[in-house]
């Protein structure tokens, strides 16, 4: 442990510096296109956090990113890189749409549970094939999950212009029944007398997402399965030697990952759109990668990073409204975060480690034992 920096620096300082670097580069981009970065930041904060309406959108996006971030994080623990979140969300949405369209459900609580089960099952199923191919055939899971994103998009296109299409021009399903409508935060907070904007889409799914964060934390650090997943992720040969079945760990971690990604659909399909539309995931599956990297694959970190990206997403929408800055600026920030926290991690870590080693106090050097005292005596 002598040549490493303290755990808190690794968990907090490295992501923080990455974030600051990403922010600086984003500010340069904004300045380069002739806008004022400080003004933009002010507008983002005002738009995303300045009202319950803004918060309602921020939390809605954050809910999406919690699911996809957790999905990427659990796969990271097993050293699997699941880029397929986007496709798993789309297919999860298909599951939600099928059950809400064809099964008359009496109350939103029943509908929520049913939709959640379907979303998780469909998302997990979509992750199962790449997982199986990785475990049994050694096909690289990154490539197969990317391919499955495109196959999912084609599947959804087909379903929405074909069997599930509502009458009319738009490629979308009919609206779900009113009884399946999820209470928004406005409905929830009005019960306890807090006035919350009724226009924002944040809904009870937020609580499901927070529960998922806690549940996943317990799974990773408080169960035997979580231990096996972490052991497999840190050293496959060691895990194999300890009697852990690699196929089982790859399958289970990817099924959980796909299921979590699929569950995002209850937020955007059942909660917000209340029907299935084309490109329903809107890139949230990919943002999960940035969220998981930023959150260091820890569920609490994912929670915080999801809030941050929810803020960025809503703030970015405000920028597009009020300044001549396209919404795609968020994609740039997302890319920079992935670049700095994921790929250029060592660029930040190496100098930081050096600084910590330089300032390390002397007593950390191993205590002189008998031999060295005799050497001192000889001097």
């Amino acid at each position: 442990m002598t040549d490493r920096m303290p755990a808190w620096a690794d968990a907090i300082l490295v992501p923080l510096i990455s974030l600051i670097l990403a922010a600086i580069f984003s500010a340069i981009v904004i300045a380069a296109i002739g806008e004022n970065p400080l003004e933009a930041l002010e507008l983002m904060i005002e738009g995303a956090l300045g009202s319950t309406y803004g918060w309602g959108y921020t939390l809605y996006y954050a809910t999406n990113f919690m699911f996809t971030g957790l999905a990427v994080a659990i796969a990271f623990h097993a050293r699997m890189f699941n880029i397929g979140g986007e496709g798993q969300v789309l297919v999860g949405g298909l599951g939600v749409a099928i059950i809400l369209l064809y099964l008359p459900l009496p109350h939103w609580t029943v509908a929520l549970v049913a939709a959640m089960l379907m979303a998780a099952a469909f998302g997990a199923a979509w992750a199962a094939i790449p997982a199986y191919l990785q475990a049994k055939r050694g096909s690289h899971i990154v490539i197969t999950t990317i391919m499955f994103n495109f196959i999912a998009a084609a599947l959804l296109n087909w379903a929405l212009v074909g069997p599930l299409k509502a009458p009319g021009q738009e490629p979308a399903t009919p609206r779900f029944a009113d009884s399946t409508h999820l209470p928004t935060l406005h409905d929830v907070f009005s019960v306890i007398g807090i006035d919350w904007s009724s226009a924002a889409p944040a809904n009870v799914t937020l609580f499901v997402a927070v529960a998922a964060c806690i549940g996943l934390w317990a799974l990773i650090w408080r169960t035997r399965l979580g231990y096996e997943i972490r052991a497999f992720g840190s050293s496959e040969p060691a895990a194999r030697y300890a009697g852990i079945n690699p196929t089982r760990i790859i399958m289970v971690s990817m099924l959980i990952s796909g299921g979590l990604a699929g569950c995002m659909a209850i937020n955007n399909v059942q909660g917000e759109a209340e029907r299935l539309v084309l490109n329903a995931a809107e890139g949230a599956g990919f943002i999960g990668i940035a969220v998981a990297l930023m959150g260091r694959s820890h569920p609490f970190g994912v929670f915080l990073a999801a809030l941050l990206f929810g803020f960025l997403y809503q703030g970015g929408a405000e920028l597009a409204l009020w300044m001549n800055i396209q919404r795609e600026l968020i994609v740039v920030i997302q890319a920079l975060v992935i670049l700095f926290t994921g790929a250029l991690d060592n660029m930040i870590r190496m100098p930081l480690e050096r600084i910590f080693l330089t300032f390390r106090r002397r007593p950390d050097v191993p205590k002189p034992d008998r031999k060295s005292t005799s050497a001192e005596a000889a001097e």
Partner: protein, 325 residues
């Protein structure tokens, strides 16, 4: 379907296959040297944008091409820095570059041209003009009258932009460079056993950077052709997954140049068919156009699964090289 229609579909296949083929060869150089390149898509996209932007402003397709290659090289440099110098995760770096391209191109395009994230339509000098080979017919009515051989020559072989012919020439060139030169031998070795290359006193870092630079130049050409040859200007997300299809073709081709030509022509053909026909009626069942869209990806998964011949990537692919101390 008559002969001329078949020719027209094949003609369109060749055009669609060109950016795939150049990007696929870019990936071939990079991955043979042990650097996974998921960022083909992003490099093509920045190249497409900057080439279209410069060609629109200057009116010269050549300056556009240079600018496109330059943009792609900057992205290559970031990828090299992350995956070679700082020994980061090559997959994550590629993913980041794809998003960086998707975001930056739209933000900058809007700021420069204020046309909703696209560049202006390119005029004559700003595009790669079709090259009419000697003796080839040009008007479609003449071609319809001509004999089958003349039709084949005029419709399929003649009348493409320069990058199409360049792409075809690149295949034997790549094969020769990789399998018949000292540089190629070392490049392949660095993707299989970098420690052996290092032991022989050859720079692993240098070779890998060389491969990444070559990939950057090729992606630049591929992206420039997309915006200044296949289409007349840049539109948001115009690569539309072509970088990933090229990656799929690379796996399909098992990291070999001639196979890459075959794979890209096949995937180009699928795209051409999907553009020309919507749903295909096979008599018994009607194949929806979405199946055509998904087919390259499905085929790649099948190949990766190893049911139809096993695709084995370069052994040291994706792993940063750490010199023993």
């Amino acid at each position: 379907m008559d002969f001329l229609t078949t020719l027209q579909v094949l003609d369109s296949s060749l055009r669609q296959a060109t950016p795939l083929l150049i990007a696929c060869l870019a990936g071939l150089f990079s991955e043979r040297a042990g650097i996974f390149d998921i960022g083909l898509e992003g490099k093509m996209l920045v190249a497409a944008f900057l080439s279209a932007a410069v060609a629109a402003v200057t009116g010269s397709v050549w300056l556009g091409l240079l600018a496109g290659i330059g943009a792609s090289l900057v992205f290559s440099a970031i990828h090299g820095l992350a995956s070679i110098t700082f020994r980061g995760n090559q997959l994550i770096s590629g993913v980041a570059l794809n998003f960086l391209a998707a975001g930056l191109t739209v933000v900058i395009a809007q700021s420069w041209f204020a046309q909703g994230g696209r560049t202006p339509q390119l005029m004559a000098g700003g595009r790669f003009e079709p090259i009419i080979l000697p003796g080839a017919l040009t008007s479609s009515s003449d071609i319809a009258q001509a004999g089958p051989l003349m039709q084949l020559y005029s419709e399929l072989i003649s009348g493409h932009g320069l990058p199409v012919y360049v792409a075809l020439a690149l295949v034997p060139l790549t094969w020769w460079a990789l399998f018949r030169t000292r540089f190629g031998l070392r490049l392949r070795a660095v993707g299989e056993a970098p420690e052996a290359v290092d032991t022989a006193g050859i720079s692993v870092v240098g070779l890998r950077f060389a491969a990444v630079v070559i990939a950057g130049v090729l992606c630049g050409i591929a992206g420039a052709y997309l915006a200044t040859g296949l289409q007349a200007g840049f539109t948001k997300d115009m690569t539309a997954g072509r970088g990933y299809i090229a990656l799929a073709a690379l796996i399909f081709a098992k990291w070999r140049p001639w196979y890459a030509l075959g794979a890209c022509l096949l995937f180009g053909f699928l795209q051409a068919v999907a553009i020309r026909f919507q749903n295909i009626d096979l008599g018994v069942v009607e194949v929806p156009v979405q199946v055509m869209d998904a087919l390259p990806y499905i085929l790649t998964v099948v190949i990766l699964a190893g049911f139809v011949g096993r695709a084995i990537p370069p052994r040291a692919g994706g792993e940063p090289y750490v010199k023993e101390r």
